[in-house]
Symmetry: C2
Subunit: 108 residues, 2 copies
DNA sequence: ACTTACCGTAAGTCATGACTTACGCACTGG
DNA sequence: CCAGTGCGTAAGTCATGACTTACGGTAAGT
């Protein structure tokens, strides 16, 4: 059920940019805030959401907090996605044939 | 770049429920609307968004429109996700060790 | 041709949530 | 011990978007 939070989090463009920044490696809040067109508190709030979704972890480092991606957080999302690939792909094959078959009544 | 639309779409709970319903197979708008706590036009609008994101396709069938999942729509999302698994996983291993290492000054 | 079923779009309402500024707390260095 | 730095939270504002009802358009049955 935790994939829901992950999706809802990554659905936001700003949070996605934040998450993608962290892909390059760990970074503090201040560093992340620079390079983004929003205030530092906004970044804090986004990081809080990402943390709640299990997508990132943080570690205190002196007076600052360093955030980094938790790969395990993407696990449930990956599993959820695979459920569609398997199940939906076979259904899809049955559909594509029909797409030009039974349309509205042909009126020549 | 299309993974952005997919994420933004699936970020919405109602759209997710809709998408998961379609996993069981194709269905018309009216059928989908029943079983969801929203009006039929709302479902139409959600389906429009899903279609724009390339996640579903539709086919006319008489007076109704049948929607079904397009597995290819999930492709970009999958690719995007993998980029994190590969890249972030190695970064993560370097981080976990530090998590208890350099904290705030120990004050015994 | 007329009615009925099914759907998409338009227009308007309302709540969610993304942002801001202001504040208080924890840690570090002089 | 006293600034200064870095951060999280609170409170308030404002736009986005998710929903509604109303309408028009297409296809099928009689």
């Amino acid at each position: 059920m935790t994939y829901a939070l992950a999706l809802q989090c990554l659905g936001d463009p700003m949070r996605r940019r934040l998450f993608e920044k962290l892909r390059a490696g760990s970074a503090s809040v201040g560093v992340l805030a620079k390079g983004l067109p929003v205030s530092r508190p906004a970044v804090s709030q986004h990081l809080k959401a990402l943390k709640r979704a299990g997508l990132v972890k943080d570690r205190p480092e002196g007076t600052r907090r360093v955030y980094f991606i938790d790969p395990e957080g993407l696990g449930p999302l990956r599993v959820w996605l695979d459920q569609f690939w398997d199940r939906a792909l076979e259904s899809f094959k049955q559909e594509v044939g029909k797409t030009a078959g039974r349309g509205p009544r042909r009126t020549p």
